[in-house]
């Protein structure tokens, strides 16, 4: 039985960089290996193509491989799900044409790691603020509270719209506060679009290793200051997913 194989690509590292102490399994339980061209090397493994990757454990494997390498040195993540035809294609199709870019990127990322911050409101607390601060919202709330939805549908939609606007205003102010305190300690940052109604801020930060403590301390003070209204989570250090060119 010969299953058709493809060459799954995780990312690009230095060809002589130290490997992680513990090598996580790649997609589908495969072994991850390096295919090198001079100073750079692609992290790859052979995956069967008749059952393409794309499931939970594949997603986890992709990030586990990259984050493990990121603990040891710079790595340029490749977008999830990228498969070359075979290993012979790695140099002519990936490393060769973009060799100088990879060298420059790896150099730029050395000594830095990504942290992702996710701040979410404690929604009822912030909603209560919104009601207290806005008489029109309070009025509509009273008007719609005990009525069946069909009877007050337009008022309910209006109420929700006003609440959403008020939340957005808070979000912008609070996000700016958070960023003002943290950004001085980072090399770069990217703010993501929000997902979810309790969304306050989601952002990625590229942090120099020797400023990591200051970054984390700043974030800790933010989390403490906001803790009655929001929860702040910090993920990382991660591979620099947000700090390599998207194209």
């Amino acid at each position: 039985m010969t299953a058709e194989l493809g060459c799954y690509v995780y990312g690009v590292v230095g060809s002589t960089a130290a490997a992680p102490d513990t090598l996580p399994e790649g997609v589908g339980g495969t072994a991850v290996e390096r295919v090198a061209l001079d100073e750079v090397a692609a992290l790859v493994s052979d995956v069967p193509l008749e059952r393409p990757p794309g499931r939970r454990r594949d997603v986890l494997a992709h990030s586990a491989v990259l984050d493990a390498w990121a603990q040891r040195g710079p790595v340029v993540p490749v977008r999830f799900g990228s498969v070359l035809e075979d290993r012979d294609a790695v140099v002519p199709e990936l490393l060769g044409p973009r060799y100088d870019d990879f060298v420059a990127l790896l150099d730029d990322l050395a000594g830095r790691g990504q942290f992702t911050v996710r701040a979410r409101y404690h929604e009822p607390v912030v909603l209560a603020e919104v009601v207290r601060e806005n008489p029109e919202i309070e009025r509509l709330r009273e008007a719609t509270r005990d009525a069946p939805e069909e009877a007050v549908y337009p008022e309910k939609v209006r109420l929700g719209e006003l609440v959403a606007q008020a939340m957005e205003a808070k979000r912008q102010a609070d996000a700016a506060t958070l960023l003002d305190l943290v950004v001085p300690h980072v090399a770069a940052h990217v703010v993501h679009e929000g997902a979810g109604v309790d969304h306050l801020l989601e952002a990625a930060f590229l942090v120099d290793d020797d400023r990591r403590n200051r970054f984390e301390d700043a974030l800790e003070s933010v989390a403490e200051a906001m803790h009655e209204r929001a929860a702040v989570r910090l993920l990382g250090p991660l591979a620099p997913y947000d700090f390599v060119a998207g194209e």
């Binding site: 996580p24 499931r55 939805e149 939609v157």
Partner: protein
């Protein structure tokens, strides 16, 4: 992310989860990393679409209704009859009830659900058990 993220001097308000949950990982890697000229490009089964949906629905009537309902339910909190934690539990439970207005929260929970490697039912998981049971308990109390 199997490798240590050594917890720093603890006791803080900052949450430092080990980022091994699917929701965290998806958010971190989705659409990230360099794009290469691939022979085959696989996509995330189901998950990608759900996440994008969650982003789009924010400024919709459904979202407004959900906000309105959550706002309507604030009375427990205002009467001061319960402490903050209980109020949060009640409101969150009420806000996420069956209708379309709870869809976003449902999606987030579906993505969040469970860290085990059971791959085939990942898209429609029930809300994270821990949170839900705590909320239920609060409501029953």
């Amino acid at each position: 992310m199997t490798v240590s993220t050594q917890p720093r001097r603890g006791g803080g308000y900052l949450e430092r989860p080990a980022p091994s949950g699917l929701a965290d990982v998806i958010e971190v890697i989705l659409d990230k990393g360099i794009v290469i000229d691939a022979y085959v490009r696989v996509s995330l089964v189901g998950i990608e679409i759900l996440t994008i949906d969650a982003r789009i629905v924010i400024a919709s009537v459904d979202t407004y209704l959900r906000f309105a309902e959550a706002t309507n339910r604030l009375d427990l909190y205002e009467k001061g009859g319960k402490d903050l934690t209980e109020a949060v539990g009640d409101l969150a439970e009420g806000g996420a009830k069956k209708k379309t207005s709870g869809a976003i929260q449902g999606v987030k929970h579906a993505i969040t659900g469970g860290d085990d490697d059971d791959e085939d039912d990942q898209e429609r998981r029930r809300p994270a058990k821990k949170t839900t049971s705590r909320r239920r308990r609060t409501e029953d109390a």
